[in-house]
């Protein structure tokens, strides 16, 4: 970016010539360098969603209980008893590839701020993670660092990480996916929005001093793919400070409790530029922003560096001048630096508020732009899209089922216990965690955020993604992903109330990627309508590619649910000696099911075919039945058949309980490994069997008695033996896979 450089500055900053032209139109003059850098960060893909916005509009966003939908820092649902739940999911994929520990840590930090910005106390994190294969050393290093980073930050900041996902696949080798979801609760009346109102009110910057962290990060890191050349972009890495964030949480919630805040906004992508312009334009006001007042960590920072820095652990609060002394006192108690950096100003006669960057109030004006233009005027692209040319051919080429001889090894190859990850996370803080990591979904006690009074009800959470399904068919795959989330909630007795999503895709300049994105949005919209669920927030992460190869489309769905009466723990993924095992949602009499998109097919590199059929109404019946059975309390175990199908579901119940399985009605390996939706295994004591089958019949849900939980071998047979392995061996394979690959303790902390 030196003047000697032949590249014009706007292009070096990632703005196209057309975009520059638009800026000139808006300002009626050439922008100066500070203004240009502000537009460049705000109009980046990361902040403006310029490639995805036109698609996201198709998602249903309203429904019962929705207090805040997409567009704010987090979605907010009314969950009764005067309590609201705020939820958001975000990605930190690219930073985590470059510096796994800090990338993941700052990802957790960022999503937490989105939650307490709304006035909510963060009570849970979830971390859906996707890495390259375990036999790749770099992927192991990334996985180890990412998990250490989430552990190091989440534990220390004092928010439990209660669940998530851990997936390994070749397509994430050069581009891991690190998504983080955060849930918070607040008294409904404390809800605050990112708004600056009231002429003369003050913008107070809270938290860390500003350094050169992540300068250009939003435009450079988030909006361009990278491969070998990534080293150049490295100085942009940010370091997280969970202790600062913890004090920031306490200070901000104390300010909100004392009603000292008119509006508040976290500083994430695009830093101060985003927070100042967003609060001003949301309030229909302008702001004079004193860049000289911003406390700095480094000498000699230029105004454009201060305005676009992504230094972590900062918030911008709008307060009245009268409340300022009390604001400063509370911040001092929590050892949080607080500095007046802005003043809210009136809009002009057209209602347009100016964001003026000044060198001291009343001093030189360094930048002067319509605040709202940084957001509303951001470019909107209708990028070309096209289905893959070989789609029909791929669909016609379905995977073959493993032979009988291959079945045992195929099953063993799919098993891994994620305790290696989850035991590094505090998942119990706040005494809410009734069902934590390892279950089909998380269940948290719902206590009033300020009085602590127990409501006797629970919140349930799950995150799900299935890149295999979505690679085969993004539209149906996404719908099936949401369906699976709903079924996961049913397994813990919960009903779904709201959806958030994180859309992880490749390069949007590839027409096939835009087609995947568009199909995914349609699939999600259709499924949300079918299940009457609103989407209340999300995030889009594009340019997930390396060396020109895009990742498989990976929408990750976060689903929030309610347990209406939380009096007992859900049965869990287990079973007891002597139980009968019943499959719900399938009686195994249908035609041979498709293995397309299944883990077992992927393991052999067979990525074609057509997904098994999905019937939303049949799914709803299964969900209703499972939820009722769980809440009635008669089951000794329950587990949905998801990744790895029925085989993996049964194996997981076996290793978790230490009890063998004897199933003798399996028609073949296809039925065992298909990932057809809407299938659930339940374990019941023999006395409960008849009642269970009757309940299934009454609900119109196909069911079949699979066999027994007994002995110390895992036996599956039908017309002949399919699988026979000792439970101890099954357990060792399952338990040791991650420790063996990732086991050496962390050196990245």
């Amino acid at each position: 970016m030196t003047d000697a450089d032949a590249t014009p500055i706007h292009r070096a900053l990632g703005l196209t010539d057309t975009e520059l032209h638009e800026i000139v139109e808006i300002l009626g003059r050439e922008p100066n360098r500070l203004e240009l850098s502000m537009y460049s960060v705000m109009w980046s893909e990361h902040c403006s969603y310029k490639s995805s916005r036109i698609h996201l509009k198709r998602l249903p966003t309203t429904g019962e209980g929705v207090l805040v939908g997409p567009g704010e820092n987090a979605g907010v649902m009314d969950v009764g008893d005067g309590i609201a739940a705020a939820i958001r999911i975000e990605s930190h994929n690219h930073p985590s590839f470059i510096e796994p520990y800090q990338g993941a840590a700052t990802g957790a930090g960022g999503i937490l701020r989105d939650i307490f910005t709304m006035g909510a106390r963060p009570i849970a994190l979830m971390d859906p993670l996707r890495f390259g294969p375990l036999d790749d050393p770099r992927s192991r290093w990334v996985a180890e660092g990412v998990v250490s980073g989430i552990s190091g930050y989440g534990n220390s900041v004092g928010v439990p990480t209660v669940g998530g996902e851990v997936v390994f696949d070749e397509c994430y080798k050069g581009n891991p996916l690190v998504n983080v979801l955060c849930l918070g609760i607040l008294p409904v009346e404390r809800l605050v929005l990112a708004k600056a109102t009231g002429t003369g009110n003050l913008a107070v910057l809270l938290g860390s001093a500003t350094g050169r962290d992540g300068i250009g990060g939003v435009s450079v890191l988030a909006s361009a793919g990278f491969d070998e050349g990534s080293e150049d972009k490295r100085p942009a890495v940010q370091v997280g400070d969970p202790f600062e964030e913890k004090r920031l949480i306490e200070a901000c919630l104390a300010l909100l409790d004392a009603s000292l805040v008119v509006g508040i906004q976290d500083l994430g992508g695009a830093g101060l530029t985003c927070a100042a312009s967003e609060t001003a334009s949301n309030g229909g006001m302008g702001m004079d922003f004193d860049v000289a007042a911003v406390p700095r960590r480094e000498l000699g920072m230029e105004p454009f560096e201060v305005m676009t820095s992504e230094s972590q652990e900062r918030m911008l609060a709008i307060v009245t001048p009268g409340d300022l002394p009390e604001v400063l006192r509370l911040c001092e108690k929590w050892e949080v630096l607080a500095t007046v950096v802005g003043k809210v100003t009136d809009p002009d006669e057209h209602g347009v508020g100016a964001l003026r960057i000044v060198d001291g109030f009343g001093g030189a004006v360094l930048a002067d732009v319509p605040a709202s233009s940084l957001h509303d005027a951001a470019p909107l692209y209708e990028r070309p899209m096209a289905a893959p040319a070989d789609l029909a051919e791929r669909q016609a080429n379905g995977p073959a089922a493993p032979t009988r001889d291959e079945a045992t090894d195929a099953l063993l190859g799919l098993l891994y216990d994620t305790t290696w990850v989850s035991s590094q996370y505090d998942h119990q803080l706040f005494l809410n965690t009734v069902e934590g990591p390892g279950g089909d979904a998380v269940v948290l006690r719902l206590k009033h955020p300020t009085t602590g009074a127990d409501t006797g009800r629970g919140l349930a959470l799950t995150t799900d993604g299935n890149h295999r399904w979505c690679a085969v068919n993004p539209r149906l795959g996404t719908a099936m992903t949401l369906a699976e989330s709903i079924l996961n909630l049913a397994c813990v007795g919960a009903r779904p109330i709201a959806v958030v999503n994180c859309l992880n895709f490749g390069n949007p300049e590839h027409p096939e990627v835009m087609w995947q994105l568009s199909e995914t949005v349609d699939g999600l919209a259709e499924a949300c309508s079918a299940f009457a669920l609103p989407v209340i927030g999300g995030n889009v992460s594009l340019y997930n590619e390396s060396r020109g190869i895009d990742i498989d489309p990976t929408p990750v769905i976060g689903l929030l649910g309610m347990v209406d009466e939380l009096t007992q723990r859900p049965p869990g993924v287990t079973m007891a000696q002597g139980d009968r095992l019943v499959l719900l949602g399938d009686d195994l009499t249908g035609p041979t099911p498709s293995l397309a998109g299944s883990a077992v097919a992927w393991a052999t590199g067979a990525k074609g075919g057509q997904l098994p059929p999905f019937d939303a109404q049949a799914h709803t019946r299964v969900v209703g039945l499972v939820r009722a059975l769980v809440n009635e309390g008669g089951l000794s175990g329950v587990h949905d058949a998801s990744s790895g199908g029925l085989g993996v579901a049964l194996a997981e119940m076996s290793v978790r309980s230490g009890v063998g399985v004897n199933v003798n009605c399996m028609p073949g390996t296809a039925q065992l490994f298909t990932e057809a939706p809407s299938r659930v295994v339940v374990a019941v004591a023999p006395a409960g069997l008849a009642g269970l089958l009757a309940a299934a019949a009454a609900a119109g849900v196909p069911a079949v008695e699979l066999g027994a939980a007994e002995g110390d071998r895992f036996l599956v047979a039908g017309a002949g033996e399919l699988i026979d392995v000792a439970v101890v061996d099954l357990t060792a394979t399952w338990r040791d896979r991650l420790p063996d690959a990732l086991g050496a303790g962390t050196t990245q902390a």
Binding site: S151, P242, F243, K246, Q428, G452, R569
Partner: protein, 224 residues
């Protein structure tokens, strides 16, 4: 009148509200003691809770022990007042010199949040008086630096004085002699890495922390 337990809050503490909830569940009163106050507000017992006081920067407990409240806690302990340090609180008490030894990084060099089985090896302390000697309690651990270390002389003193109150059945972190919790010579200051406040109901997975918390409440009630 119910006994009052003061729960110290440093910037970075995070288990203080959990301890308060647990104490109230068993009929005690509990309140926050802010680290910057040099006063204990007349409480009958003090808990230094888990978390990351001052971010655990430098070493867990290294900065926290200089807080004004700690002088008051040291004085209170010196007068025989019941003081319990849980997890980070244990680390703070060792840094403050109220308990011997130090807590290093776990042997496996990983943070560990997991259930643990603890054997009650001494009931001569304010945290174990109401528990049964030899009984095994299921109480979660949640720490990176829980690997108890001390000199051979200190270990001999702890053993000879019946001051190892809790031992791990299956040592998760490399602690010398499987130590999970120790007490001072008077039995009134106890430090332990596991979290009894997390084991207060079947709904949360275990209620085995209750005998420990009840012991503390008993000790606190004596002075009421």
């Amino acid at each position: 009148m119910a006994a009052r337990i003061g729960v110290v809050q440093f910037p970075g503490s995070n288990c203080e509200l959990d301890v308060i909830e647990a104490v109230r569940l068993i009929g005690g009163d509990a309140e926050i003691l802010w680290h910057g106050d040099a006063e204990l507000q007349g409480v009958d017992a003090v808990v230094v809770p888990g978390g990351f006081a001052h971010g655990d920067y430098l070493r867990p407990g290294a900065i926290a022990r200089f807080s004004p409240v700690m002088s008051a806690v040291v004085e209170f302990a010196g007068q025989g007042g019941p003081v319990v340090g849980i997890c980070n609180g244990f680390q703070v008490l060792t840094e403050a010199g109220l308990l011997p030894g130090a807590l290093q990084k776990n042997r496996g060099l990983k943070f560990l949040c997991a259930p643990a089985e603890l054997r009650v090896d001494s009931t001569n302390s304010v945290l174990t008086s109401a528990a049964t000697k030899g009984s095994v309690l299921r109480v979660p651990i949640n720490h990176f630096e829980g690997n108890y270390t001390c000199s051979p002389e200190t270990l001999a003193e702890l053993r000879d004085g019946d001051r190892v109150v809790l031992r791990y059945v299956d040592n998760p972190n490399g602690s010398v002699d499987d130590i999970a919790g120790i007490t001072n010579g008077g039995g009134n200051v106890v430090g332990l890495m596991p979290h009894p406040e997390r084991a207060i109901s079947a709904l949360l997975g275990s209620a085995d922390g209750l005998p420990l918390l009840r012991s503390l409440l008993d000790a606190a009630s004596v002075s009421v």
